[in-house]
């Protein structure tokens, strides 16, 4: 459905996009996916996006900003018991902390993608985080048409670093993120 958008090519085209372009997240097709270890099994879950604010400057990538909040209360961790445990007080404590937020602080090119440095806040604890980003445009769209994009973000975090280490005897510490964000240009 989508075809790789050579970010390098876009960036190389230079000043045609000299300012930030604002994008809104299209919930249709966007998922905040994550994977965690349950014994020998890898379990996949997802969380709905509560809010996303993306301003991309393709000519000057460091001028881009990304702010995303996900809704912990709507999270699914793979199967019902795991979802309850994950949203409960020993892990994400969704009652007290209904959102996880990520705010970028620096974005730069990294190979054929980008590296996004930022900070993530989980259960009220803020820690630095790095996400790898790959950008794609919609299949069939013209090379210059950046009105609809898909961003794949990957990264990992430690539950213990945020005090979300409940059931550490059953569930692994590392949570691997695989976020697929479908973006629509808003200006």
């Amino acid at each position: 459905m989508i075809r790789l958008l050579a970010l390098v090519m876009i960036l190389a085209t230079g000043p045609a996009w000299a300012a930030q372009t604002r994008y809104a997240l299209d919930p249709q097709g966007s998922t905040v996916g994550f994977a965690w270890d349950f014994g020998a099994d890898e379990i996949k879950g997802n969380m709905p996006v509560a809010q996303a604010d993306l301003a991309l400057d393709f000519a000057n990538l460091p001028n881009s900003t990304v702010t995303v909040a996900v809704d912990v209360t709507g999270a699914e961790a793979g199967f019902p018991f795991a979802s309850q445990a994950m949203k409960g007080p020993r892990v994400l404590d969704a009652g007290q902390y209904p959102h996880i937020t990520f705010v970028s602080s620096a974005i730069r090119r990294d190979g054929d993608g980008a590296r996004i440095d930022g900070s993530i806040t989980v259960r009220g604890v803020t820690r630095p985080m790095v996400l790898a980003a790959h950008l794609y445009r919609a299949e069939g769209s013209a090379t210059a048409d950046l009105s609809r994009l898909t961003v794949i973000l990957t990264g990992a975090l430690s539950r213990a670093a945020f005090g979300a280490d409940g059931w550490s005897d059953l569930a692994g510490d590392e949570v691997r993120l695989n976020i697929r964000a479908v973006l629509r240009q808003v200006n």
Binding site: P80, F81, Q84
Partner: protein, 180 residues
């Protein structure tokens, strides 16, 4: 063959509950001890649900049994030519059995409920009966583990006593639980 107990025999209800519980407990003790040593994963998650369902059914059965014995008291203990210490031991073993048949599933329920995760029995979600704290979770399961071993010991004692009555004293203690 009466449904109710009489002063000298067990009725059908008491015997049915006794043997159903005996079979379930004899299955659950090794099953639970084995499960305790397993590493939980997707492939065996359903076994924990099965363990809880059988355990809560056993709790319901022992409560029914206690109520039934208030409605229809069990026959008197056979004491003829039995040493007094053995009579006392048998009484204590029965009290301990009933107490543990209540406490073992109850402690498991408390531990499970304290995790904050739904306790489901045969697909039905039970009400959350206990504060969701890690202390009660760990304490509940620790008590469950210890009480299970005590139950195993008392069950073995009860089993040995029943065989002793049947093959050494040759009285009707065991046969009246089989045939009434």
């Amino acid at each position: 063959m009466g449904v109710r107990n009489t002063p000298s025999s067990f009725g059908l209800v008491s015997r049915t509950i006794h043997w159903a519980m005996a079979a379930a407990i004899l299955g659950m003790l090794p099953f639970g001890l084995w499960l305790e040593g397993q590493k939980i994963g997707l492939s065996n998650l359903w076994l924990y649900g099965l363990h809880k369902s059988i355990g809560m059914t056993l709790l319901a059965l022992v409560l029914v049994r206690i109520v039934w014995h208030r409605i229809s008291p069990p026959p008197h203990q056979l004491t003829q030519s039995i040493a007094s210490w053995q009579i006392r031991a048998a009484r204590w073993a029965h009290w301990a059995l009933y107490l543990l048949m209540v406490l073992v599933p109850l402690s498991g329920w408390i531990g499970s409920a304290a995790t904050g995760i739904d306790v489901t029995v045969w697909g039905l979600t039970l009400p959350s009966v206990w504060p969701q704290t890690e202390g009660w979770d760990k304490g509940g399961f620790a008590a469950h583990s210890i009480l299970t071993k005590l139950l195993l010991a008392v069950v073995l004692l009860h089993f040995a006593g029943a065989l002793h009555r049947a093959f050494v004293h040759r009285d009707r203690t065991l046969t009246r639980m089989i045939r009434g």
